[in-house]
């Protein structure tokens, strides 16, 4: 049986290899701290396995997470100048390979979905092939590996070091932001352990008329929208609103379909992202890139869609999740 932990080790190993390359990358002004960040992140993926099966204490991992937060938070993670192809060269390569370039990329979702849907139906000597409950995640891993093989074959690229270096270029350009979603999940767990959910739940009970389904759904979606507008980030709004309304009221109390409530709730937050200057990278950067005089130009054309889709999301949850 293929276990999810093995896949986490593979991801950890990729981070460690890229981290060691970063340590040796003289073009990166912050190579020591950047290299430490990625290598330590890779190491946590291994150590976590023992934390999950409770054979190692969680405190050292907690300290490692705080170190990662400091390295990223104090701007100590930088990027080097990747040795890659230029714009002109890429245009020529695109002409040479044409639409074949899309094949490896499409391999990832196709293999991932096949693994999640078809593979669990097969058994091998009485055992399932993928660890139960982790088929999608393992499918993604298998999909990425198969796609890499297909890509190297289609592009006639014999060296594994080329995709590793190219991947490191992308990793470094994402920088610490890559870790933000996982840390927001951590924050959600801390909120729960500290009792934030129960407290917000009490406030919610006072606001919400008893058992009013539509009002509860609207509160969840509008809350996601408003928090996202204030914070500029739907990911950050999600732990707050889920602890407050999404989980205790909509899923536990009113028995909503959890995947529907959560997925559409997140999208209600995305509607907020369309309308806020706080999401600078999505709304203000394009205005600057396009040399617009009115830096709110994109927000003005996006906002009506944002408001209409917020209403759509409320109705989708109301009609389909209950």
């Amino acid at each position: 049986m293929i276990k999810a932990e093995w896949f986490y080790w593979l991801v950890g190993a990729v981070f460690i290899v890229m981290g060691l390359q970063t340590l040796l990358d003289r073009s990166n002004a912050k190579r020591y701290t950047s290299g430490t960040f990625w290598t330590l992140l890779g190491a946590t993926f291994f150590y976590s396995s023992w934390v999950v099966d409770k054979s190692a204490p969680a405190e050292p991992l907690g300290i490692a997470v705080l170190i990662l937060i400091c390295l990223g938070g104090f701007n100590l993670v930088g990027k080097g100048t990747p040795r890659t192809t230029g714009e002109k060269q890429r245009t020529e390569l695109a002409k040479r390979f044409g639409n074949k370039l899309f094949i490896p990329a499409l391999t990832i979702p196709v293999v991932a979905v096949l693994c999640a849907v078809v593979v669990p139906k097969f058994h091998f000597g009485g055992h399932v092939i993928f660890e139960k409950g982790n088929e999608t995640i393992l499918g993604l891993g298998v999909g990425a590996i198969v796609a890499l093989g297909v890509g190297m074959w289609v592009l006639r690229e014999p060296r594994v070091s080329v995709p590793i270096h190219a991947g490191r270029g992308l990793l470094e350009s994402m920088g610490w932001a890559l870790l933000l979603p996982q840390l927001l999940a951590v924050l959600g767990a801390i909120f729960q352990a500290a009792g934030v959910g129960t407290q917000v739940g009490k406030v919610t009970e006072k606001i919400l008329p008893n058992g009013q389904l539509l009002a509860a759904v609207a509160l969840y979606c509008v809350g996601m929208f408003v928090f996202t507008v204030i914070m500029g980030n739907a990911f950050a709004a999600f732990p707050v609103m889920t602890a407050a309304v999404g989980w205790p009221v909509l899923v536990q109390h009113l028995h909503g379909n959890a995947p529907a409530v959560m997925a559409v709730g997140m999208l209600a937050g995305f509607c907020g992202t369309l309308c806020t200057p706080m999401a600078a990278n999505f709304n203000l950067v394009p205005a600057a890139l396009l040399e617009l005089k009115d830096q709110y130009g994109p927000i003005k054309v996006q906002a009506p869609t944002g408001f209409i889709l917020l209403a759509c999301n409320i109705l989708i949850i109301y009609f389909f999740a209950f």
Binding site: V65, G72, A105, L178, P181, I190, G195, F238, L290, Q302
Partner: protein, 237 residues
């Protein structure tokens, strides 16, 4: 009640544009302390929840193959394909781009578009060229040019936002499963969540597509008015 100050830390931190990692770290420690967790328990919660939410970060495994494709001209090939849509009106062209952006993001190709990758070099100039054709080849008045460019950026953003969540290995989907599974000890599958992104994606296409098609008509009216005004100015000279 006092633990809610932790939520306030998050809101203030993001709203004042502090580094998000620091905001999360500080908010976690503050909330834990206000919730009467000992320092040891706080560290333990950080560690345990980090370990059980690793699935959120596994999308990094796709970076080598995406990097390989990009250095071999993936974005350039996407532009070559879009370039074949040259003869449409502004609204129709942007509606088609919206659909393409949604579909490609839904299969994990979020990086082939974007403000720097496709809007500035390709989408905005093509949308403008289409509007200029409508204007009889004359350059666009400044206000209308701004609106066309804004719509080019908007179509890109709406497309990727309401397409990417159908791809199961995107940060937002993995964040939901990671957070919910680690916090509430239940089990959500990324694939189930991804499927629930489809109804909203369809609504997004209908709503924003309709608005872009209506923009064609508004554009026509505004061009007539703007040209009439400039004709009056011309004759006044």
């Amino acid at each position: 009640m006092i633990v809610l100050l932790g939520v306030l830390v998050v809101i203030l931190g993001f709203a004042t544009r502090r580094n998000p990692l620091l905001v999360v770290g500080v908010a976690g420690i503050v909330t834990g302390a206000l919730g009467k967790l000992s320092p040891d328990e706080i560290l333990k919660t950080f560690g345990e929840s980090f370990a059980s939410s690793r699935s959120v970060t596994i999308f990094a495994i796709t970076l080598p193959v995406i990097g390989l494709l990009e250095r071999n001209g993936l974005q350039q090939q996407a532009r070559i394909l879009i370039g074949k849509l040259g003869n449409l009106t502004t609204g129709r062209f942007l509606t088609l781009y919206l659909l393409l952006r949604q579909l490609t993001a839904a299969v994990g190709l979020q990086t082939i578009g974007g403000p720097a990758q496709s809007v500035r070099p390709m989408i905005a100039p093509m949308a403008e060229a289409a509007a200029e054709r409508r204007n009889g080849g004359r350059p666009l008045p400044e206000a209308i040019r701004e609106k066309v460019r804004s719509h080019a950026a908007g179509a890109d953003t709406v497309g990727v936002f309401f397409g990417e969540d159908i791809f199961l290995a995107i940060g937002s989907i993995l964040l939901i499963t990671g957070l919910v599974n680690a916090t509430y000890h239940t089990h959500l599958e990324p694939l189930d969540l991804a499927l629930w992104a489809i109804p909203t994606a369809a609504c997004a296409f209908l709503v924003h597509g309709a608005r872009l098609l209506r923009f064609d008509r508004a554009l026509e009216r505004e061009l007539v008015v703007a040209n009439a005004e400039s004709d009056v100015e011309e004759s006044a000279k």
